[in-house]
């Protein structure tokens, strides 16, 4: 099977078959990234499909086939974030948002999937991009639209929370998250 860059090059040149093959090849990644943002299958599938549709629209403007993965992942993350904002707004209309995300309960053993679920989306997505796709901090920063420093910090917090949740329940940290999605002690990019 052709590599992603070669398929991307052919797709950008207008090869319809290559476009189909390319999307099929990256579909699992699209779904998993969308899931990492949304934490829910149906919404993730919806966001991943929409991201693929947008890719169909924009693939002709792709100049560097090697850059396709990061370009595509960013479309997926953006679409998933957009979907998350919509869902959050709908949920906010129904109930008051919580300022503090509860640490996972008192079970002695918590499997990783539950631990991942317990992470806030900004933490979960960087963990998935780092470990599942094995991207660098800089690549992740580009994809999620944050500074490299912020990504490093989110990775640090996410690892710390996962470790805590996967070890002794009593060590689970509680990290305050403001309503705007930034963490209380998260470094802010200098603007």
């Amino acid at each position: 099977m052709d590599s992603v860059p070669s398929l991307a090059a052919a797709a950008a040149a207008g090869d319809a078959t290559a476009v189909n093959d390319l999307l099929e090849k990256v579909w699992p990644d699209a779904f998993r990234i969308a899931w990492s943002v949304l934490g829910e299958r149906t919404a993730a599938e919806d966001a991943a499909q929409e991201a693929c549709a947008r890719t169909l629209t924009a693939i002709g403007s792709l100049r560097t086939p090697e850059a396709f993965p990061a370009w595509f992942y960013r479309i997926v993350v953006n679409e998933a974030n957009r979907r998350r904002r919509t869902l959050r707004n709908a949920a906010a209309a129904a109930e008051e948002p919580r300022d503090t995300v509860e640490a996972v309960g008192n079970e002695e053993r918590i499997d990783l999937e539950r631990a991942l679920h317990a992470l806030e989306p900004p933490l979960r997505v960087v963990i998935v991009l780092r470990y599942y796709l094995r991207l660098s901090g800089k690549e992740i920063a580009t994809i999620v639209g944050a500074s490299a420093m912020t990504v490093r910090w989110r990775l640090f917090v996410a690892r710390r929370r996962l470790r805590a949740m996967l070890s002794e329940p009593t060590t689970s940290p509680r990290i305050s998250m403001h309503n705007n999605g930034a963490y209380a002690d998260e470094p802010q990019a200098v603007r």
Binding site: N20, L23, E24, W27, P28, F31, R32, W35, S36, R41, E45, Q49, E50, A51, C52, A53, R54, L56, T57, A58, S61, R63, R74, I75, N78, E79, R82, E108, R109, L112, E113, L116, I127, V128, R130, Y131, Y132, T142, G145, R159, L162, R163, A164, L166, S167, E168, R191
Partner: protein
């Protein structure tokens, strides 16, 4: 798991967990259907480039807001546009008189040598606007505006006198009316106030390094949803026959070779 996992163990566990997710079947038909019916959502296609505050403050350039109303692709061909222009004088916006003209009319009216665009892709046709102010007639400018597919701006060429000492900035605001004649409220946009200048201060652009134009494009759809996209454009600026020429392409529309071809053709 009663001990804290190492980083490697954590990574392996995350990978394993994510890979174990049951991925739904790839549904090309559903994606194609979305592609066929979806409307433009540029904010999710291209990330907004980060522009440092320093660059924004230091560069006495202008930025543009082109407020576009774009409807469904099927009616894009019926887009009608109206351009408004404002000069930036001591930080204040001063409305300019905008006239849509022919090339011959522009040559007769402009106080500098009008250089007809050349080397532009043959399928593109410009709309020509003169921008002038009664208070400062020597600072008149000429805009050649090319729209690409979908009605979005693809290339803007600005010409002005290389020696004029007029207003230092320019803002363009384009209101788009889509869907044919403006009957009722369907597809008609409220006029947009200019927000950012387009093409910058005289003299600076010829300094070469660091010159750029930021163009915000706001797309309003008939369902009322608004999406925004920001382009950072590094224009080509040069002086030819006493005319200062600013070539500002929207990213992705022209290659560097094409831009150099235009520059060479307009410098003869």
């Amino acid at each position: 798991m009663n001990r804290k996992p190492s980083d490697n163990e954590l990574g392996s566990a995350v990978t394993s967990s994510v890979c174990s997710l049951d991925v739904p079947a790839f549904n090309l038909a559903a994606i194609r259907a979305r592609h066929g019916t979806r409307t433009v959502h540029p904010s999710t296609l291209t990330p907004r480039p980060r522009i440092s505050r320093r660059a924004l403050v230091a560069a006495p350039i202008a930025i543009a807001v082109v407020a576009l109303l774009v409807s469904m692709p099927s009616v894009i061909a019926q887009v009608q546009g109206a351009l408004k222009a404002f000069a930036i004088v001591h930080g204040e916006t001063v409305p300019l008189d905008v006239q849509t003209v022919t090339l011959d009319q522009a040559r007769a009216q402009m106080p500098f040598q009008v250089i007809a665009p050349a080397g532009v892709p043959a399928r593109w046709a410009p709309t020509i606007h003169t921008l002038s102010s009664p208070a400062s007639p020597e600072s008149a400018r000429l805009i050649f505006q090319y729209n690409g597919s979908g009605g979005l701006p693809a290339l803007t060429i600005e010409e002005s006198s290389a020696t004029a000492k007029g207003p230092t900035g320019l803002m363009l605001s384009e209101t788009r009316v889509v869907g044919g004649a403006a009957s009722g409220h369907h597809g008609v946009a409220a006029p947009q106030a200019p927000q950012m200048p387009l093409i910058g201060a005289r003299g600076l652009a010829s300094s070469g390094k660091g010159d750029y134009v930021v163009r915000d494009v706001e797309v309003k759809r008939v369902n009322g949803h608004t999406a925004a996209r920001r382009f950072e454009i590094h224009p080509l600026v040069w002086v030819s026959h006493g005319t200062r020429i600013v070539l500002a392409p929207t990213p992705g529309t022209l290659t560097q070779a094409q831009l150099q071809t235009i520059r060479a053709a307009m410098s003869r």
